[in-house]
């Protein structure tokens, strides 16, 4: 049963939530924000592994960038301290800027890659940065059961 959606609106109207997959945090690097890149088995029939891993790797890169401790972040910290943190009334922190970038990236990925395959990624910030939640949708046209051997709609995204 192929679950093909051409855009998110179609996903909305005709799909129902079948399952959710959670990608947990990878703490092997300490407390910095990283997510496991292990490919969940539930997605095997839905999306190609390289695409998925690419998304997660990209997210990890962005989070590493947000938390990077280098000259720029030190400068920002010292400047903020010197101005008694009032400077953040005018500008946003680097972390917040990167989080916005991540939000845009996820939205773009959802629109281009995941929604056509009946998947939806939730921004980790909505889940307290604990998990990347991937919702799996089923076509309402199909009879309620999980997609068995759905030929992946890889072609639709191209």
């Amino acid at each position: 049963m192929a679950t093909e959606f051409h855009n998110l609106q179609e996903l909305r109207h005709s799909a129902s939530l079948a399952n959710k997959v959670f990608l947990q945090r990878d703490y092997s690097d300490g407390t910095t924000c990283r997510f496991q890149t292990k490919f969940p088995s539930e997605l095997e029939s839905r999306i190609e592994r390289p695409l998925f891993e690419d998304t997660v790797k990209r997210l990890n890169i962005y989070y590493a960038e947000a938390e990077k401790m280098g000259g720029q972040s030190y400068l920002e910290g010292c400047l903020a301290c010197a101005t008694a943190y009032l400077i953040f009334l005018c500008m946003e922190t680097r972390y917040e800027k990167v989080l916005k970038k991540i939000g845009r990236y996820i939205q773009e990925q959802n629109e281009k890659i995941y929604a056509p395959r009946g998947l939806l990624i939730t921004d980790p910030i909505e889940r307290g940065m604990r998990v990347i939640e991937i919702s799996i949708y089923e076509d309402r046209g199909s009879s309620g059961s999980c997609s068995g051997s759905s030929s992946t709609s890889g072609s639709s995204a191209r």
């Binding site: 703490y27 407390t31 010292c78 301290c81 910030i125 909505e126 307290g128 604990r130 309402r140």
Partner: protein, 484 residues
């Protein structure tokens, strides 16, 4: 199935509205809506919020007001009684420097007290169910009496660290996070709960806390030194007794400063050491990374040198708050508040209906969650593998609690034993500590020589049921008294 109910909320949310900044609540006009509540109003932890969610503090704020009064009164008296003389006799720079220090102290105090320390939002029902499933799978079918220990091991920088499962928040705590029983929240990089600032000290406000105690040390020493100078100079001119008559406040100031200096300066020194070695108070007290534990034991989080550790702690990037206090509660179904930053949750209500079929018990849990800390003896909520909740059996209080340092290795074993108690009523009263982090620790237990002026909500024992609410109150009272 639940298609109908599920489809409707989806239609209402426009995907294009997704942005990390927007805070548009979901519209469901066809449902009777109570006035929209902000998320802080439905926050499951034990916190107080002010200014419509902008300010966040712990529940007990009495000692914070004491701190404020002490600082204001002492500084006020200094500026009123001592500064005129000093600025004339020595230099007017004295009140100026004093003023700058005073403003800095208040600024950092408010910043520490009012900000989110790094609270981790509780898991949504879907996440909790998924974790439970994973735990079950990982441990095979739990054979009757012994539900599996809920820990995960991870290797960080060559050190094996155990991640513990928090029963209240239903998550595996990240490394260095801990559950504060006073605030009933998991806090990232939990240092301790400070009644003096009326808040937990964690990842997001540790630097403000450190700057507060550092600047307060300077202010205290400054006032102490110059009040003494004032008294001496005046005594030379007018005699000691006349001085006391003219400036009676000086005596009060000297007394307050004298007693504060020891604790505050000591505390600053202690935290300077912690920062330079990149440890939390929690870890230091437990001796997690001390070499006494074993030859190969070292702190995996340390950056190697003192300078980098200090920079990282004080000038590193400041992560944003993970709990969206001022966002609006969106769904009409009871669930732990999803930590959005205003992103429209097209998934949230669906998850409710989906989960309702799968694990109906989880739906009701959030309602009980907030009470859990108060009445932990309530028998388990009936969910899968929830047998690790403290028992309503024959509670015996823990006798002595010296083994803070062996908490890490003991935990899995104890978990199993205490879970087993649910089914056999063994009288291993002292096997009751399941999640030691989730208990307020009687303050008399602090083994290390750290200055008195602090309470540390750290690994203590989980006090069993019936005595708990009374015990908690008395412990909290003790906690306050001990730090005075």
């Amino acid at each position: 199935m639940l298609h109908l109910r599920v489809a409707e909320p989806m239609r209402e949310c426009e995907y294009s509205q997704i942005s990390t900044r927007s805070s548009t609540p979901m519209e469901t006009p066809y449902k009777k809506r109570t006035p929209k509540r902000r998320k802080w109003q439905a926050f499951p932890g034990r916190n107080k919020f002010f200014c419509n969610g902008r300010i966040m503090m712990a529940r007990q704020t009495g000692v914070f007001y004491l701190t404020l009064v002490l600082i204001l009164v002492t500084s006020g008296l200094f500026f009123a009684f001592d500064c005129p003389f000093l600025s004339m006799q020595i230099t007017p720079a004295i009140p100026v420097i004093g003023g700058v220090l005073f403003v800095f102290v208040l600024g950092t105090l408010f910043r520490t007290s009012f900000s989110d320390p790094g609270v981790l939002p509780r898991a949504t029902p879907d996440e909790a169910a998924d974790l439970e499933r994973q735990i079950d799978v990982a441990n095979g079918s739990s054979s009757g009496y012994r539900p599996p220990p809920r820990t995960r091991e991870v290797v960080i920088n060559g050190q094996t660290v155990k991640l513990k499962y928090c029963f209240t928040c239903k998550i595996f705590r990240p490394p260095r996070a801990s559950h504060c029983s006073l605030c009933d929240n998991c806090v990232e990089r939990f240092d301790h709960h400070c009644p003096w600032v009326g808040n937990c000290v964690g990842k997001r406000n540790y630097r403000f806390f450190y700057m507060f105690i550092l600047s307060l040390s300077f202010l205290t020493i400054f006032i102490f030194a110059f009040v003494i100078t004032h008294v001496i100079l005046r005594s030379h001119r007018y005699g000691f007794l006349n001085t006391l008559k003219d400036s009676p406040a000086s005596v009060l100031e000297v007394v307050v400063c004298f007693f504060s200096v020891w604790s505050i300066v000591g505390l600053s020194g202690f935290h300077t050491y912690l920062i330079s070695s990149n440890q939390t108070t929690n870890e230091d007290i437990k001796g997690s990374w001390s070499s006494k534990r074993g030859k190969g034991n070292y702190n995996p989080y340390s950056h190697g040198n003192v300078f980098t550790n200090c920079c990282a702690a004080l000038c590193g990037p400041l992560p944003p708050s993970l709990i969206d206090r001022r966002g609006f509660v969106q769904s009409d179904t009871p669930q732990p508040i999803p930590p959005t930053n205003g992103i429209t949750m097209y998934g949230s209500t669906q998850s409710q209906s989906h989960m309702a079929a799968a694990t109906p018990l989880l739906q009701s849990e959030p309602v009980i969650l907030t009470d859990e800390a108060f009445l932990p003896g309530r028998t388990s909520l009936g969910g899968p593998c929830s047998g690790a909740l403290p028992l309503g059996g024959h509670p015996t209080p823990p006798t002595s609690t010296p083994n803070l340092s062996c908490d890490n290795d003991m935990l899995p074993l104890r978990n199993e034993q205490s879970d087993g108690l649910r089914h056999h009523h063994t009288d291993g009263g002292h096997h009751h500590f399941l999640t030691p982090e989730e208990a307020p620790s009687p303050p008399g237990m602090l083994p290390c020589g750290s200055p008195l002026g602090h309470s540390h909500t750290i690994q203590g024992f989980y006090n069993p049921a019936s005595q708990d609410s009374l015990h908690e109150d008395s412990v909290r009272g003790l906690v306050k008294l001990s730090s005075v």
